[in-house]
Symmetry: C2
Subunit: 263 residues, 2 copies
DNA sequence: GCAGTAGTGCGTATGTCATACGCAGAAGAC
DNA sequence: GTCTTCTGCGTATGACATACGCACTACTGC
């Protein structure tokens, strides 16, 4: 009498309350434990905790079901009593990593400042959990913490006068920016770690590489860039974030003005 | 006499001309064939072509060394005579997917228009090769086509009066935006394909899910959004792109003005 | 108390991957 | 003609996710 595509087997876990993705259901704290069989020797929190610990220490790639199980001193397959698939574990890990957003600035603060605080908080949280950037997105924010972040993002635009459609677009734009920024940082850091070079060294290498291949005729702008020595700066990751956010906010401000005039 | 970290084995391929990452070296067309041993029965173009064909038809995940080899009617391991590791194949696939940027608008066109054309071209090209968005980034653009795109992006700001540092930041910002936009689209499309739902259906489902869990007290902004029926619109992916780009360009324009005044 | 039953942990197996290693044969260099 | 340097490729190896089924446990209804 199992509903869903796959009947039988370990997929058919207890306490399903709806047709939601199991991970979402779990994250919202549904799924009551029917007090039948043996007491579970494990719980989701411990599993997710162990997985997060591994990810923090050795990166997301080190998180395998076997590894997590070993960490907990149980067998690999026992994890599947708590988690339908690895994707589900990923979702839960991400949820744990993001946590709830910090309290917003006092009401009355100008929207630009509030939005800045939100974006910065989002970046800091993401940056502290770089591994989480590697988790493939599987849909719009649907877990409690993600929704809370979205809520706070939307609320940050309260004083802007923007309509709901604009607000959601703005929030998606800004969070996409943050995600991309941090994700790119993570990728570069990973590449450098693999190559065993320092950030400065890789930048110099990169400059040399470009210099070697970019002839001034086909690539005048790049050549100029090299000659200007732009690639010799310290490439502060904070700088690119601040730069991008500033542009974004200026652009949003222009929208706010436009809508204010129009409506 | 092998240089490099790993001596011996198949890593030690012929024709190495420098200490560059092998993939980069290949992409720039270095690596002369020393006319010794048997004539190679394969070439990189055929390998990359087959890999791209698989990725187009079945997604990046379907691209395994074994699968590519089968496509070409050779054994898995023979590929490793042409490619040091799968990552290298990825880089070459991406290079093939992006191709060269289309010709820019006529000189004299305002920078905003040129930059728009560039961003749009980048998006279109990326969108036509969604699978390529799944390839992990391993560093700043270092292959010929990537550098060509960068060149054209930088050149698009010729009429803006921005300095070199600003230009590179702007280009990184815009290309990051495009990448994120298309990548998110790809993720959502993949998730929907896996769930077997249409885009409209998933949006409705998402709305229902939010409605179910977001109580109006904890999540007033989200609740308002739902009540406003914003999630019932068609969620045109073009719209979000256009919206974001417009904000970005407005923000960049503000910078141009500021620098123009200052310098 | 005592069945019945739904859960439990987990051993084992399957199938997929990337890739190390080494051999046999080919073809240009001397 | 021999030597060297390639080639293709068969055969491991060691991950990994996860299907399946067994043995055992602790509630539920009687």
């Amino acid at each position: 009498m199992a509903q869903g595509k796959q009947a039988g087997g370990s997929t058919d876990r207890p306490g399903r309350a709806s047709d939601l993705p199991a991970s979402v259901e779990v994250a919202w704290g549904l799924r009551e434990r029917p007090g039948k069989g043996p007491r579970p020797g494990l719980d989701l929190d411990r599993i997710v905790g162990a997985a997060v610990r591994i990810a923090e220490a050795e990166g997301l790639a080190a998180v395998s079901m076997g590894r997590v199980a070993k960490e907990l001193g149980v067998s690999t397959m026992s994890l599947y009593r708590y988690v339908a698939a690895k994707d589900e574990l990923y979702v839960l890990m991400q949820e744990a990593a993001m946590g709830l957003p910090p309290a917003p600035p006092a009401p009355g603060t100008p929207w630009r400042e509030v939005l800045t605080a939100w974006a910065t908080a989002l970046r800091d949280r993401s940056r502290r959990n770089l591994w989480a950037m590697r988790i493939p997105v599987d849909g719009p924010p649907a877990t409690p913490h993600s929704v809370a972040w979205m809520e706070q993002g939307l609320a940050s635009l309260d004083g802007s006068g923007l309509g709901d459609g604009d607000r959601i677009s703005v929030i998606m734009l800004v969070s996409g920016f943050v995600r991309n920024e941090v994700g790119t940082m993570a990728d570069l850091a990973a590449a450098q770690a693999k190559a065993g070079t320092t950030p400065e060294e890789s930048l110099v290498r990169y400059g040399r590489l470009l210099a070697r291949f970019t002839d001034p005729v086909r690539f005048p702008a790049v050549t100029r860039l090299l000659e200007a020595g732009v690639l010799e700066g310290p490439d502060d990751p904070d700088y690119e974030f601040a730069f991008g956010l500033e542009r974004l906010l200026d652009g949003i401000e222009a929208l706010v003005r436009k809508r204010g005039v129009a409506g």
